[in-house]
């Protein structure tokens, strides 16, 4: 069991790699070989415990219908659950309430602690459970099932510690978040205070990071009063965490939780080499990876249990299994089969040892916007590998952004990967009003195209609009202004997929509707623009010009569900085919025609090569 899981973990990591370097390993077998030789550490699973205050104070609604702290917390917790299901379902999450009237925990040894969810992978049922705790209904349910009672943070922490020890998986990252609006939970009871401190210390010693998500209360939340010694110190010396103001907005809280919740995992740790003997250690992090629908799992029809796949390579003639040494690789060029050993195929891809080799610097304006071939990655120093890296890195970062230059490096991220050139673009740290980091300090690594990656286009003739026309368009543009945020658009394809799964998992009648956020809000736009559109059209289009005409015909058919109006299909009759065969002219027919012919006679063809199609037809019609 454990082994299997570790393997999966590794696969998850590999998947991340492949999202970046998917092109580099066309060769399946090799990929498997490389899976084991990555530079990153294979760790266990991440875990996250939400420890939520359920005292009466949490349920107080703000004036003019603002959310109660409890409601706000539950919404955020729910969104963490659903994100985790999509992004990293193997992570474990628990939800524990303290300050409750009722008690529910494994051995029921703690009073006023209610374990709503113990540490486990989030699933559909758990999301439903959370939905039940939202809004007014949720408040009612909470009051009925748990109620509000005495508080002992010490017991609550102790109970959480037990949750960890009951886990059979290896945990790589343990985080506990306390949500509360009470800065003095025990009302001055020093015994309880002390007990909680001791328990918090114990937890921290076993590697649990404790964060405080303090919420707004009348009179402000004084962290120094009590919680200062409970929470884990910030990673740096800035004590940023403690200067934070309490959250009073849902979005802030969500942001703050998400920022803490995501475990950084480096794609690789490599050297940034300024020159021979000047090596810094840096980690590469993927900050934006195209999320895809996860692959399907193969299940045994009878039991719905997952099956494993095994791949074997064997000799067709003798049927014996082949050893790696009995296999070679080949490519055919110019009618010639060129053969290489398997390790030669690898060796060809080797240019450098892994590393970022500094070539030089260029002014920022030399970085062309359209020189984009892959999503960027992020670079941050790793002082624990090479001491002094952070200092040199920091100096480099500071000077690069001061001088407005970027560094050009040759980048070999892993063994046996041909180099790519990258631009290291300095990024200064930025924090928002709530002191939450919005941009971390470091370099963004932008991949640069080679000559082969840039295509030559025949540039068409471009007429130029007059200033009046441009000005009218400016009005249109200004009417439709909005503030773009990179996290504003959900992927409708993935969302729909998970809605479907949710519906199936929970036996719902129909999946929940998804909002397609990347659909233009045409009506609103029309209203905003008013007469501007017609004014612009009158300026640029002649009276009878209709841009939709030609493509419109096509669009209509698309709506009708199928390109039935495409081109009239030319079908070949059986007789014609036979004639062609007789005269040996069947090769003159086009592939689509041959395909149609195959379909017509209900012939299944393995490939789609012309010869394969012809062979199949001849076999069918011949004789």
């Amino acid at each position: 069991m454990v082994m299997y899981l570790v393997e999966v973990e590794l696969k998850v990591l590999m998947a991340e790699w492949n999202a970046f370097y998917h092109n580099e390993d066309e060769d399946e077998e090799q990929e498997e070989g490389e899976q084991t030789s990555g530079d990153y550490k294979v760790t266990g699973r991440d875990s996250l415990v939400f420890l939520v205050d359920a005292s009466k104070e949490m349920f107080i609604k703000g004036e003019d219908g603002e959310l109660s702290n409890f409601d706000m917390t539950m919404q955020v917790v729910r969104s963490v659950y659903t994100t985790k299901i999509i992004s990293s379902y193997r992570d474990l999450i628990a939800l524990v309430f303290y300050g409750t009237e009722q008690s529910k925990n494994p051995r029921n040894s703690f009073k006023h602690v209610y374990v709503y969810h113990d540490l486990d992978e989030p699933g559909a049922t758990r999301v439903r459970d959370l939905d039940a705790l939202l809004g007014d209904k949720g408040e009612k349910l909470a009051a009925e099932t748990m109620g509000s009672g005495e508080t002992s943070l010490g017991d609550a922490l102790w109970c959480c510690a037990n949750l960890y020890s009951d886990i059979k998986y290896r945990l790589s990252h343990k985080r506990l978040m306390i949500f509360t609006c009470r800065d003095d939970p025990h009302g001055g009871n020093s015994t309880k205070d002390r007990q909680a401190h001791t328990k918090a210390r114990d937890l921290k010693e076993t590697g649990v990071m404790i964060d405080l998500m303090h919420l707004m209360k009348p009179g402000g939340f004084d962290v120094s009063l009590y919680f200062r010694d409970i929470v884990s110190p910030a990673e740096d010396e800035s004590e940023l965490g403690l200067q934070l103001k309490p959250c009073d907005k849902l979005d802030d809280l969500r942001k703050r939780v998400l920022a803490k919740e995501q475990k950084k995992r480096s794609l690789a740790r490599i050297k940034l080499i300024l020159d021979e003997g000047i090596n810094m250690a840096v980690g590469l992090y993927a900050t934006a990876v195209t999320a895809r629908k996860p692959g399907a799992v193969k299940l045994y029809r009878e039991t719905n249990e997952q099956v494993r796949s095994k791949t074997r390579t064997f000799q067709t003639q003798t049927g014996s299994l082949l050893l790696p040494s009995e296999i070679k690789k080949a490519q055919v060029y110019g009618k010639k089969k060129i053969v290489m050993e398997r390790d030669e195929v690898d060796a060809i891809k080797k240019f450098d040892d892994p590393g970022l080799y500094l070539i030089g610097f260029k002014p920022m304006e030399k970085l062309k916007l359209h020189h984009h071939i892959r999503p960027a990655i992020f670079l941050y120093p790793e002082d624990d590998q090479v001491k002094g890296s952070a200092c040199l890195f920091s100096a480099l970062l500071k000077k690069c952004s001061e001088k407005n230059v970027f560094a050009v490096c040759r980048c070999t991220p892993r063994r046996n990967i041909p180099p790519r050139f990258v631009a290291l673009v300095p990024q200064k740290e930025e924090v928002d009003d709530g002191k939450v980091q919005t941009k971390p300090p470091g370099f963004n690594v932008i991949f640069l195209p080679y000559a082969d990656d840039i295509r030559n286009l025949d540039i068409p003739h471009c007429p130029i609009a007059s200033p009046i026309q441009v000005n009218k368009m400016k009005e249109i543009v200004s009417k439709l202004r909005f503030k773009y945020r990179s996290d504003a658009f959900e992927n409708p394809v993935i969302q729909q997929h998970y809605r479907n799964l949710e519906a199936l998992a929970l036996d719902m009648v129909a999946p929940e509707e998804t909002d397609d956020l990347i659909m233009p809000k045409v009506e609103q736009m029309d209203i905003r623009l008013g007469p501007l559109i017609d004014e612009f059209k009158n300026m640029v289009y002649p009276f009878n010009y209709n841009p939709d005409v030609k493509p419109a015909a096509k669009r209509k058919t698309a709506d009708d569900g199928g390109g039935s109006e495409k081109k009239p299909k030319v079908e070949v009759s059986e007789e014609e085919l036979k004639n062609h065969m007789k005269n040996g002219t069947i090769g003159k027919l086009t592939v689509p025609l041959l395909k149609d012919a195959c379909k017509q006679f209900g012939i299944r063809v393995a490939g789609s090569k012309k010869q394969e199609l012809i062979d199949a037809l001849v076999a069918h019609l011949g004789s």
């Binding site: 740096d236 900050t287 399907a296 074997r312 490519q331 063994r415 990656d453 068409p460 441009v470 503030k483």
Partner: protein, 736 residues
Amino acid sequence: MARSRSALVLCMDVGFSMSNSAPGDESHFDLAKKIIQKFVQRQVFAETKEELALVLFGTDSTKNPLHRDDQYQNIIVHRHLMVADFELLEEIENQIHPESQQADWLDALVVCMDLLQTETKGKKYDRLNIALLTNFSTASSSDNLDIIIGNLKKAGITLQFFLPFPLDEDEQGGEDGDSRGPGHQGAGKGLSSEQQNALSMMKHIMLSLDEEEGLDEVYSFRNALQELHMFKRIETRPMAWPCLLTIGSSLSIRIVGYKAVTEEKRKKTWMTIDAQSHQSEDVKKETVYCLDDDNETEVQKDNIIQGFRYGSDIVPFSKVDQEQMKYKHDGKCFAVLGFSKRNLVQRHLFMGNQVLKIFAAKDDEHAGIALSALIRALDELKMVAVVRYAYNRSSNPQVGAAFPFIKKNYECLMYVQLPFTEDLRQFTFPSLENNKKVTPSETQLSAVDSLIDSMMLVEEDENGETDDLFRVHHIPNPDFQRLFQCLHHRAVNPSAPLPPIEPWLKAALERPEVISERCRAPLEQIKKNFPLTEVEKKKPLKTSAQIYGKDSGESDVKKAKEDVEEGEYNLADITEGSVTSVGSVDPARDFCTLVRQKSLPFGEVCQQLTQRIEQLLSNKNTQYYMKSITCIQAFREQSVKLENAELYNSYIQSLKSSVPSRGLEVFWDLLRQDALTLISRDEVEGSTVSKYEANQFLVAEEKEEEAMAASPAGDVGDVDDLVCFHITVICSIRIF
């Protein structure tokens, strides 16, 4: 659809004067031959359908259809028009040598023209081209020049010249600002009168063919070699993507999109062939499915359905249902969602792996004007259009940004994909500025400052023009270059080992020499001012493998490979022969086999193994120690696999207690370095040992201070487990 065809005649001077060279330099002949080789190599590997012919002049013999009496002598049509292949490459390699005659380059040109005309007769070609490589050292008469030009024009034949010296006047300060590398001096200098004369004739021809850009098709040998893409390469024509750009419901602009930048992949993949027969048909890969039970019960394909994970749940979800329920949309689309400030779209959040250029539909003046208005409005307002983009009905829609892009001679929108919420990871990193420990001092900062100054790759000359010393987008992808080099080499010399990376390619990837020179001193300063110390792993791990010297001097590649393969071989061995008890020759292997066979109870097999271990340990010798360790490794692996920690743990514990009395400290040390700890709860549920205890366990009492050497033992255990579970089991079980 008719494929576009083109024909090219390579016409190379192999005459006497071509083999001259300044001492230390490559001869003109060698350079020209290299160009031809490179070019043909490119053609072969790009698998272009372009037809090639090769005409040599200055040859000792004569073989061409125009040869009459003393006309057109010393010219050979070496190869007629056909697609380039390895035969041609081999011929170039082995059959083209410098010869001792001279021939008139204009005569050779006429032979080429004649060849093109007769051999393309009746077929339609899009392009006819002649590339002439010569040093112009033969006198030729200009009598027929105008007739030749007339014929070239009439036949639509284009010319390219490759000369050993650069044609200076027009090469510099080209509009595109491309520097064509060093080696430009000396045009006109040291040229003979024949050469001067020929040059002016050539210019006359080229300018008559194309008044404006005619001379752009004259290259020097060195530049041609340096920048192979200077050859006119027939590319896959970018596919036009016609669509409507829409703003709201009633404003549409007819547009057409092209991929402008995209990561070009290798066109071909490696196929797997049998090492003996070299036939791919002889190798078959087969995937079977099995249940995750002890018997690995195989399941037929028909009995497999698909499902998806929803968190901890697996939901069966058939392909049909999936298709029916999936997100559907109206297809092709380029619809504006709104406009936003350009600086809100961050460069490092560009997604996808391509950039599209969007132009107005061809020959639609009105669409052109409308799009131009949009491009210019965006440019002036410093804004971008945020759009929904869908390539077609079956592809997933994206959100992206369309940037205005205005050049001297054209303008367009540039489309880049932007992230979805799901794609982003909001990582926080410790602040660098607020951390006093890593804050650089003023001296340190100024060292970095001067380093950056010394390493600027872009320079401004007196005229205010910038010169970029390192244009990445002019470097050919080294991956392809290297692959083709190796393929070429292997094709021509099948038994020779692979060649080293070509020097020019290596040099193209390195820091320019000027910069290396300039930054030497500043780099010294950096070295002095920034101490960088590799954090030592507390004690370098000495594993049994290292003692055996397995990885001495071998490359990492090989090592990693071997590790995997070894696992496979072991499995292979295991399946061979019948094993009834744990023998002394290879006890670990026997043990694994027996455990697998399940013919004996696990406990008994373990007992047999431990007996062997005890026997081995009675010999105080590294050789035997290593063997014992292999046994213990196998013991541990199998125990974890079978989730039975008890037997192993108790054995190891008793072994530990006997260490001092039996004097096995050296052995124990080895065991510790191989991190063969107790099996902890984290690995096997039933274990009574916590991970911490497991880690502590190996630390022998007297070495307390060295506790927790290097990585926690659990990690190592898992890596081993991975090897066990390596999915591809390639072994030599004979199936008849």
